[in-house]
Amino acid sequence: MARIKAIIVKEFFHILRDPRSLIIVFIAPVTMIFILGYAFSFDLNRIDAAVVDFSQSDFSRQLVNRFANNRIFVLHFAGGGTSGGNPLRAAEEMLRKEKIKEIIVIPVDFSRRLTVHGQADFGIIIDASNSNTANLVFQYNEMIVLEFIAEMKKAGQLFKLHTKIYFNPEAKSSFFFIPGQIAAILLMISAMLTSVSISKERETGSIALLFISPLKSYEIIIGKTIPYIIVALLDGVLTLMFSRFWFGIPIHGSLLVLLFFAILYIIAGLSLGILISTTAPTQKAAMLAAQILTMLPSYLLSGFIFPIDSLNPVLQAISYAIPATYFLRIIRGVILKGSELKHFLFEGLMLVLLSAILLLAASRKFSRQRKAVQ
C-alpha cells in the first residue's frame, strides 16, 4: 500500500506542477461547458416570415393574424397587390438574403374559394438550406394551419391528438448538450491526461526507473491512475455544479447512482488512456491518438450531438465500442429522467467489459515492455 501511495503522491505533484495541465484540468472544462451551454442549441426561438397577401380579404387577414399572434413568428409585409413591383419577387429576394425564413403567399382567389367552394390553398415557401431548421419551421406552420381549421369549423378538433414531452417540457437543447458535455470532459481527463503522463515518462526515460523498481506492474498502474480518477471526479463535480446552478438543469436521479457509473466510465477511459500510452512512442503521438481515438468518436459517434439511431449501420456498430455511448445514456437518464440503477444494468456491464478488454491488452503490452527493459 505504501508503495502505491508513493506513486500517487508523485503523480499528483506532476499534475499540479505543470501549469498547462492545470489549465487542461480546471479551466478548459469550465470554459467548454460555458461556451457549449450558450452556443450549442438547435432551438428555434423566432421565425421571420414575409407575408405576400394578394387576397387582402377578411379571411386572409384572419389567417395572417393567426401567424401574427404566435409568439414565434415575426411578420414582414412585402406589400399587397397595390404597391409597385412584384411583392413575391421582393420576398424571394429577402429569402435569398436570409432576412426571413419563410414566405406566406395568399392567392387572389383565396376568400372566394373558401366561401364558394369551402376549400382553399395558400402557399408557404421555406428556406430549406438548413434542413433541420426548415423542418422545425414546417412543424410550426402545420400547427397554425390546424388551429385555423379548428377555429373555422367551430366544432373543435377534427381528431384528438395530444403531444406530451417528458423531462424537458420547454424542449431546450441545453438539457441535452450539457450533461453530454460532462461525459466528454470526464473522458478528456481520464483518457488524454493518462496517456500523456505515461508517454512523458517514456520520453524522458524516467519510466525505466519505474520498471526497475521493486513495484509490481499492477502497483504502477494503480498508482498512476488513482490520481486521475480523483481529478476526473473533481472535474465531474465541478461541471455538474455548473450545470445545476448556472444553467439550472435539474438533477432528478440519485447522485450515488451517477457516481457509481461515473467511476466505471472513468476506469474505461483510463484503460483506453493506458493502452494508448503503452502503444504510442511519443507524447505528441499519444495526444494525437487520444484525440483521434477518444475525443472525436466520443463527440461524433456516441450520440452526443447526433442520435445513434439515425446513423448508418456501420457507424452504429462502431458506436457500441465507445464507452461514451453508454455513459451518455446513463448520465442523461439519471440527471434528467431520474433513472435508477436497474435501468442501466446492460450499460454498466458493457462499461466493465470494455474496461476489461482494454486493460488486458494494455497490461500485456506493459509487461512485455517491462521485461524488455529488465
Partner: protein
C-alpha cells in the same frame, strides 16, 4: 526571388514524409466522407413503442404506416397499458404512441381513435421533429380517408422547400465540412511549422540568411495556403461527386472568399507559432482555437441562438463568414452582390490579423 527557395524548402519539408503526404491528401478525403455520414441532422429510425387500446381497424392502419416509414422503428406494439415512464427511463424507446377510443361531448364514438404521443424530451430537437412527423402521418391518413369519400380539409398549405427541396441535411453540412477541412489543415500545418524550427534550432540558420522578416513570413505562409487550397478543391470534388451536393454558384466567388479566409487563418496560426515554445503547446492552442472557431461558426447549430454577450466572439470569428458564404454559394447560387458585406468584414478581420501577426513576427525575429 530568394523567396522562391524558402517556399521550395517548406514544400519539400511538408511532403517529404509519407505520413505528411497521407495527412495532406488522403486524410481529408476520408474525413469528409466519414463526417458526411456522421454530421447529419436527418432523423431516422427513431425507436417507438405503440400502445393500441382502440377497437376499430383505423388505429392498426395508422400503425402500419408508421412502421413503413424509415423515420421510425416500431420496437413493440401492445394492447395493454404499460408503465410509460419506466420505458423512457430505460431509454429503449424515444416515443410512445397511444391509441384510444375517442368520444365527443355527446358521448358518441368518434370516427378516429384519439392519439396521444408521449415523447422523451431529453433530445429536444429529435423529439420535436419526430412529433411533427407523427402529426404529418396521422394528418395524411385522415386526409386520404376523407379524400376517398370526396371530402377535403377546408384549408391547406402547399409547402415549397426552397434551395433544398429534399431536406437533405448533407446539403447544408457538406459545404460546411469543406470549410472545416480547410481550417483544420492550414491551422495545424502552419502553427507547428515555425515552432518545429525553433525546437530543432534550425530557425537560427533561417534568420542568418539574408531573407527579410517579411520574406520569411510569406515563405512560411504561402506553402500552407497552397496546400490548403489544393485540399479545398479536393474537398469540393468529394462533396459534389460522392454526396451529390449541388454547386449552384460561381467557383471564382468561392476561390476569392477562400483566399481571404485562408489569409486570416494563416496569420492567426503564425501568431500561435510565435508565442508557443514547443510543438505540443502550439498543437494545444491550435486545437483549442479550432474548437472555438467551430463552435461559434454556425457549423452545427444556428448562431442566432447565441446570446448577445457571446456575439462579439461570433462576429470576429472568420470561420463564421466562410460558413455563411460557402453555403450560400453552394445552395442558393448567390453571387458576390449578395454577400459582399460578409466578405468585406472577413477582409477586415484578415487585414487586422495579418498586421497583428506580422508585427509580432517581426519583433520575434529581431530578437
Amino acid at each position: 526571388m530568394r523567396l522562391r527557395y524558402l517556399i521550395k524548402k517548406e514544400l519539400i519539408e511538408m511532403i517529404r514524409q509519407k505520413e505528411m503526404l497521407f495527412l495532406i491528401f488522403v486524410a481529408p478525403v476520408l474525413q469528409i466522407i466519414v463526417l458526411g455520414y456522421v454530421v447529419s441532422t436527418d432523423i431516422r429510425h427513431v425507436p417507438v413503442g405503440i400502445v393500441n387500446l382502440a377497437k376499430g381497424n383505423k388505429a392498426e392502419q395508422i400503425i402500419q404506416r408508421i412502421d413503413q416509414t424509415p423515420l421510425f422503428r416500431v420496437r413493440w406494439v401492445t394492447r395493454q397499458p404499460v408503465d410509460y415512464l419506466s420505458y423512457f427511463k430505460k431509454g429503449t424507446v424515444k416515443s410512445i404512441i397511444i391509441f384510444r377510443e375517442a368520444l365527443d361531448k355527446k358521448r358518441n364514438l368518434l370516427k378516429y381513435p384519439e392519439v396521444q404521443i408521449l415523447m422523451d424530451g431529453v433530445d429536444s430537437n429529435t423529439s420535436l421533429i419526430a412529433a411533427g412527423y407523427f402529426n404529418g402521418i396521422i394528418k395524411n391518413f385522415i386526409l386520404n380517408d376523407m379524400g376517398r369519400r370526396g371530402q377535403q380539409l377546408p384549408l391547406q398549405a402547399k409547402v415549397v422547400f426552397r434551395f433544398n427541396p429534399e431536406l437533405r441535411s448533407i446539403n447544408f453540412m457538406g459545404p460546411g465540412i469543406v470549410g472545416f477541412i480547410l481550417t483544420i489543415l492550414t491551422i495545424f500545418l502552419t502553427a507547428t511549422s515555425l515552432v518545429r524550427e525553433k525546437e530543432q534550432q534550425t530557425l537560427d540558420t533561417l534568420l542568418m540568411s539574408r531573407l527579410s522578416a517579411l520574406e520569411i513570413y510569406i515563405g512560411k505562409a504561402l506553402p500552407s495556403a497552397l496546400i490548403g487550397m489544393v485540399d479545398m478543391v479536393i474537398g469540393l470534388f468529394v462533396v459534389v461527386t460522392w454526396f451529390g451536393i449541388p454547386f449552384r454558384g460561381n467557383p471564382l466567388d468561392l476561390a476569392l472568399t477562400a483566399l481571404v479566409y485562408v489569409t486570416a487563418i494563416l496569420s492567426y496560426a503564425l501568431l500561435i507559432s510565435v508565442f508557443s515554445s514547443t510543438q505540443q503547446q502550439a498543437m494545444f492552442f491550435a486545437w483549442f482555437s479550432l474548437l472555438m472557431f467551430l463552435l461559434l461558426s454556425g457549423f452545427f447549430t444556428p448562431i442566432e441562438n447565441i446570446p448577445s454577450f457571446l456575439r462579439i466572439l461570433v462576429d470576429i470569428n472568420p470561420l463564421r463568414y466562410l460558413m455563411k458564404i460557402i453555403r450560400e454559394i453552394f445552395l442558393k447560387g448567390n453571387g458576390i452582390t449578395y454577400f459582399w458585406k460578409d466578405l468585406l468584414i472577413l477582409s477586415g478581420i484578415s487585414v487586422t490579423m495579418v498586421s497583428i501577426s506580422l508585427l509580432n513576427f517581426k519583433r520575434f525575429i529581431s530578437k
